[in-house]
Subunit: 68 residues, 6 copies
């Protein structure tokens, strides 16, 4: 019955994220010996200006990178 | 003080989801004997390609259904 | 596929909480027209000193009630 | 390593929310004596019709306010 | 910056769960091309009487299995 | 109506965590101009062997620190 929530900053290609979802389901099933069909994986996408590492949002760190 | 988070795959009519939110609040208040005004219910909507049962995303299972 | 997380302050009888879990599952299934077996409900129990309404924790408000 | 999730009803200016994210990171770092760079803060924005206080959604209470 | 929350029913050996945590971190890093050190994985353990599939808690389904 | 979830590794003194909860509530109220009484803050405590930075759990990094 494992239920996995993946929180990601917006910006990756949908196909890449879907592949991550599938692979995480398989990894959890394998390592926990849980039936694959019992695993649920869901992704929560977050706007870069609403995700901070320390007190710097992802939007700010991206803007700083562009300037450098 | 119960706080409820409902995670749903995108696609249902807003009115249906709002009714679910109201009914869940009443159910929680009744069964836990918690004042209705103290209950919080919130819904998190997830894109079908970002929600998987096992290693099959909802987008894929919907596409397979359309083909069959 | 609805997945519901209920956050509760510690202190209620397990049987009462289990009944709430079952009733919420039925309510969600009914209102969203989702198969009952597809619904997942889980409860997260929180210590009273780690749950605050405004800047008053549940442990503090309980202690104030005892004094009054 | 504190990881903070802030759930908000849609409607506030992005700049205001980003400032809240930064300030919460600083507050958590200060009060828990955790290195600022180790703190993660993320915001989850919820549609007003999908957030209820008791059995009244934010969309409904906003509509009632407009009428009064 | 991916942050992953794994919700599990109580009962597995800590070592098995820790291995799942490590493997999920590697899978997410690989599939999202995110630096491994930027990934956070955390596990939330739930009592069997507080986790339901449909309207049957894990405690009940375990008890029914014991009887059969 | 902001609802804040703080995820922390086990090990800090309850009083320190409660103070963090109160201060975060005040910070959110101030920066979002939300009534303090409308803010909810809750803490989720995670066992060190169930929290990983990259593929190293907090229990492992603590053990490595003790050895060095």
């Amino acid at each position: 019955m494992p239920i996995i929530q993946i929180n990601l900053v917006e910006g990756r290609d949908d196909k890449v994220v879907s592949e991550c979802v599938r692979e995480v389901a398989r990894t959890v099933s394998r390592t926990l010996d849980a039936p694959l069909a019992s695993v649920r994986v869901m992704v929560n996408v977050i706007k870069p200006q609403f995700f901070a590492v320390g007190d710097v949002t992802k939007a700010e760190s991206a803007a700083q990178k562009d300037k450098s």
